[in-house]
Structures are given as structure tokens and as C-alpha cells.
């Protein structure tokens, strides 16, 4: 049963923050091997949705359920969800002064190793692992010595998110506007990274405002979110249509 069940199932999800309802009656099913693009006007609940999946403590789930690999994750802490394979690439990656990227990445990697009772790696072993991954997103090893996201350009921050996704080898990756603020070259590098990472055992949720990301990454489905729920679902062509007509016609 588990084998055939979808990777992610969201059922009638109702969520509030500070007494304001932000998601309502949201339903979505994602199978392995699928890429789902979620589009929608500002304030429609896209980022909220991504944070709720990751278990952000600000949001209260009032109703409904989120099943990951067949089991509810509503009672799980954010770090447990992370270990199970849920990854969120942040729209605005957070700066962590005083903590080097290298330490941060290694500790995150080892936390997952520990969770699965696998041996933790020492800093030297880790360097060999991370150096391979750096190449996949065209990042220089010099990155490792800098503090997490501190003083990074917008593009560098986004690349760092993709690097972490590849390192942690997540099964469900939610990319929240990973394309925004990127120039064409950076967009190409990041898209390549994502495409190479994707395989039939994984799934990706792409939250984006722009059709141009979908020129590089081909979505299985495109959803439109409005007022905290999915109002329309279609194929890749839907994105093109939205690009031409905006959201008003829906």
C-alpha cells in the first residue's frame, strides 16, 4: 500500500496565523517523479503553504491533514520533517552571522546521518562530499569559509539553497521563488542543478511568479492559488496562458 501511495497528500487543509485564515480547503496530491508549479498573485498563500509543509511554528493547522509517504506529519517538528525528506528552499534565505557555511552544511548533513543511524562524517570527509556538490551549482569552494548567507548576493543565496537541497538529497523539495532576483545565467545554472537533481523517486514543488523558470524546468502540473486554495490546475500551457492574460480572467 505504502509503495503505491502518493509522496504527498494534502486533504482539506485549513490554516490560520494570528486568527487570520490563510489557507482554506486546500487539496493537493503529488506523486513521485512529478514537478508541480504553483503560481498565483501576491498574497494568495503560496509562501504560507510552503512554510506550513515545513512545519513553521507560526501557523496553526485548524483542519485537514498532510500525509507524507502515507503518514500524517502534522505532529512532527520541523527538524523531523526535514529528516524525512522535506526540503524548503527559502524565498529569502536567512543570514546566520558567525556560523560558517561549511560548519552549517556539515552539521545539517550529520544531523540527517545520525537520524538514520548512519555514521557521521568528519570535516575532511565532508569536504570531499561537499566539493562534488559545489560543482553541480557552479559554486566556488571559497563559499564554505563565509558565514551562512552573510553578505551573499541574491543569486549566491539562491544557489546556496539549491546546494543544500542537493546535499540533503531531499525527496520532496519546495522551491519558494527560487528564480526571483536571478539573472539569466544564474537562472540557467540553478535550473540545471534542479533538473539534474530530479529523478523518478523525487518530487518538486516550484512556487513562482514567472513563466520563464518553466522554460527551463518542465512542470507536470501547473496550479493556480488564490485566497488560500487551488482554483485551477492545468498542464504547462496554463503557465503560458497566465503569462499572457494575468490572473484576472480566472
Amino acid at each position: 500500500m505504502i509503495l503505491n501511495s502518493p509522496l504527498l497528500e494534502i486533504k482539506n487543509l485549513q490554516v490560520s496565523i494570528n486568527d487570520n485564515e490563510v489557507l482554506n480547503n486546500l487539496n493537493l496530491t503529488i506523486n513521485k517523479g512529478e514537478i508541480h508549479a504553483i503560481m498565483g498573485p501576491n498574497g494568495s498563500g503560496k509562501s504560507t503553504f510552503s512554510k506550513v509543509l515545513a512545519g513553521h511554528p507560526s501557523y496553526a493547522v485548524l483542519n485537514g491533514d498532510i500525509l507524507f509517504k502515507g503518514s500524517s506529519i502534522l505532529d512532527l517538528d520541523p527538524e523531523e520533517r526535514s529528516h524525512l525528506g522535506i526540503f524548503l528552499a527559502f524565498q529569502y534565505p536567512i543570514e546566520i552571522p558567525g556560523v560558517s557555511n561549511e560548519d552549517f552544511l556539515r552539521i545539517a548533513y550529520n544531523a540527517k546521518q545520525k537520524f538514520y543511524n548512519r555514521p557521521e562524517v568528519d570535516p575532511i570527509e565532508f569536504l570531499m562530499i561537499i566539493n562534488e556538490k559545489l560543482k553541480l551549482v557552479s559554486m566556488s569552494p571559497l563559499f564554505l569559509n563565509r558565514n551562512v548567507n552573510e553578505g551573499f548576493s541574491g543569486g549566491e543565496k539562491k544557489r546556496n539553497e539549491i546546494l543544500q537541497m542537493i546535499l540533503l538529497d531531499s525527496e520532496l523539495s519546495i522551491l519558494d521563488e527560487t528564480d526571483s532576483g536571478l539573472d539569466i545565467d544564474a537562472l540557467r545554472v540553478i535550473s540545471n542543478g534542479i533538473n539534474n537533481f530530479m529523478n523518478p523517486d523525487k518530487a518538486i514543488i516550484l512556487i513562482t511568479h514567472y513563466q520563464r523558470l518553466l522554460d527551463y524546468i518542465n512542470p507536470t502540473y501547473v496550479h493556480v492559488m488564490q485566497n488560500g486554495k487551488i482554483v485551477k490546475t492545468g498542464s504547462a500551457e496554463l503557465a503560458q496562458e497566465l503569462e499572457d492574460k494575468g490572473y484576472e480572467w480566472l
Partner: protein
Amino acid sequence: MVNQSNKVLNSNITNLVNQPYQYGFSTTIEKDIIEKGLNEKTIRLISKKKQETEFLLQFRLKAYKKWKQMSEPGWAYLKFPEIDYQDIIYYSAPKSQKKLTDLSEVDPELLNTFEKLGISLTEQKRLANVAIDIVFDSVSIATTFQEELNKYGVIFSSISEAIKEYPDLIKKYLGSVVPIGDNYFSALNSAVFTDGSFCYIPKDTICPLDISTYFRINDQKSGQFERTLIIAEENSQVNYLEGCTAPQYDTNQLHAAIVELVALKNANIKYSTVQNWYSGNQYGKGGVYNFVTKRGVCAGINSKISWTQVETGSAITWKYPSCLLIGDNSQGEFYSVALTNNYQQADTGTKMIHIGRNTRSRIISKGISAGKSKNSYRGFVNVLNKAVGARNYSQCDSLLIGELSNANTFPYISVQNSTTKIEHEASTSKIGEEQIFYFLQRGICVEKAIELMISGFCKEIFTELPLEFAAEADKLLTLKLEGSVG
């Protein structure tokens, strides 16, 4: 639904920062105590108990006179009920105090106490490369490695012993850096100090061991007034560390200490403190009032004094380890981490007084405030007119944890010389919910996240601590802030 996030985060952090104080036990021991209260009679009694010379008695009486004319300084950003100086015991010593040449003579109860504090005095378990002077309430009870140090000409003893054995050095240097009437608390200390450490490093000598003093307040009613004097002769070098703890009482204990450092030509003194006096409970009851005057004089050319402090304890901290840079090319440094939690208040910083030519000073201050605490940096950089080419660099960073803590920076700069170069940087940051969530999303738990951020924040200071003590300091912050992290 209420905003869960703040609740969750704050309760996480609260659990982390409210680790029980593990040094809060007290020792029951037979004591030699004098009546509480302060007057000329008290001072004569202390002096008599310590069999002091007329010089010391006059020193004390002069200080007492000054003190009576002075009043508590009110400029610090601290609030506390009035201290009743007549309600304090000014002398409390374990009984049957005699000169201890053999540690087996030390009361086993005392040895036990220090074992529990992680400081072993017994021969087998001593720290191999650190000499320790132990001050328990009012008196020094033991000093290790004295003989070994003597072979190098290094004198390390309690200050009481030094007063008897080396009267000339005491006459020359006691009160030379911190004058009797420097401030209210220095006057008080000069009148009633009971013990402390003395260290003399002769010419052309690098002290072969790190030297340290461990202060323990045990008695509920007694204050601790100790004095430390360190003299580094020409071309000498010494590393000094001070540690302190106190039992957990509902009442407040007063601690008013003086530390004087003298560095002559080419001498180098590095003085590190890990201060962990009891800080009061989570409602602000109890804890030590810590009013300390620490000052060093770089008297000779090319001399250097470096203060490093990790301040985590005390209900009130009032402390400004300072440098008088008199010798040309002399250097002063101040590296500080001050952590306050619950209702703790700290007003701490430094003074760098540039007098000689090409004198340099460096100030790195890191304040961490959690709970409802107040944490202030107060610094004074003063460049006088003869200090041609003087330079100062100051950096003051504050880190706030939670919504109710408070951080302040009060930098004062006075420059009377146009060739001076002064740089000042300051920052305030906060360990925020979104930062923690970022760690969590990557599978890193809250405890580890805070540990990483705190140790990243303090990195520059910890690298200044002697190796043995860097681990201790890290452990201390871990205990205070990071909860169950092993």
C-alpha cells in the same frame, strides 16, 4: 488561536537558558567570623587578625576615611536596592587557619568543596600546568606549585603572605595602579580587603606555568573583598586566570575586588577571567553584587596588557578592566563576553588611557542578553596630548535573545592629539525565530542552533583565552544557554 510561534520559540529558549546553577551548594565548616558591621574597630580587628604592619593598618584606615566621604556611583545603568554596609560580615575564615605547607592539612571538607567545583588540590589530580591560589571567603587556603615556581624566581602566594614576606614590593606597588580613593568600591576594598593573590615575575622570565586564582564565596552574610597584585618585570611574561563561584542564597552577597597589574619594559601580562558568581534565581532573587576595579599599567616601553573576560554570573556586574598606556609603543587589549539572563544586570567595559607615544589599544566586546536582563557596554578611550600616533580600535556587538532583554552601548571617546587614529564599530543583532526555523528546516535542533550562533558570536573572544580555559568558558556558556546539548 494565539500566535503559537512566539510561545514555542520563547519556551524553547527559556528552557535552554534556565539551566540550574551547578555550583550553588554551600559548605558547612567551622568559621572564624567577626561581628558584622563596618567601623574603625572592624578594620583594626582585621589588621590584627592578619598580624599586619603599621603600614598596612594606616593604608586601611586612610581608605576607610576616604570611603566614608564618598558615595556609591550612580552613573551605571544598574538598579538595585541600597546596600547596607553595616549588615555585612567583613571577615570570615575557616577555623584553625595556619600556614599550610602540606595540602593534607587542609580540612577535608574544603578539599571536597573544591573537588565538587572541579578543582582538584590533591597532588595526583592537579592541573599539570596551572598553579592555583584558592581563596575561600576571606582567606587564601592553599597555593599550589609555589616551590616549583620559586626555582624560576617567580613569586606566587596569597597577598597576606606577600605582605609579610615581601614588604618592599607591597609598599612600592600596592595601590599604585588603583589609588585608594579611585572610586567608592576601591576605597571600601582598600579598607577591608582580607586576602587575594600576589604574583611577581622577575626580569627576563617567562613564567613556566599559567597562574590562577579561584575565588569562592561560601558564607551567606559575608562579603568578599580580595585584592590581586601582579608585577611583571622587564622582559617577562605571564598568563593569569581567575575563576569564581558562590552558593545559591536568597540574599545578595557583596563582592568588591581590586586587581592591579604592573607591566614594565617589554613585559606581557595576559589576564583572563571566567566569572560565574551565583546570578540569582529566575525571579531575580539572590545573587552576587559584583563591583570590581581592575586596572593595569603598561609602565615600560613595548609592554602589553591584555584583559579577557567571560562574565556569566552575578546579579549585578560593575566592572571595567582598564589599561594605562604610559610606556611608548605599549599595548592594551580588552576582550569580553558578557552574558546576562533572567534579571541579571551588567554594566561592563573598559578604559584605555593613551599617554605614551604610539600606544595602541583594542577593544572587542560581545554582550548577550536573554530573559529580562540588562546588558550594557561602557567604554572610555582617552588619548592625551603626548600620545603621538596613538591608535584604538573598538568593536561592540550585542546579541539579543527573546523579546524582553535589553542591550546598550555607551562609548566615550576623548582625543587631544591630532595624529590619533580611532575606529569604532558597533552592531546589535537578535537570535530570531526565522533564524532558528532555518536551522530546524535543515534538520538542526534548537539547542545546536543556539550553540552555533552563540559560539560564532563569541569566537573572537574565545580564541584569546588560554587553551585550558577556552574549553571551560565554552562549557559555561553551553550550560547557561544550550541546555541538553552534550
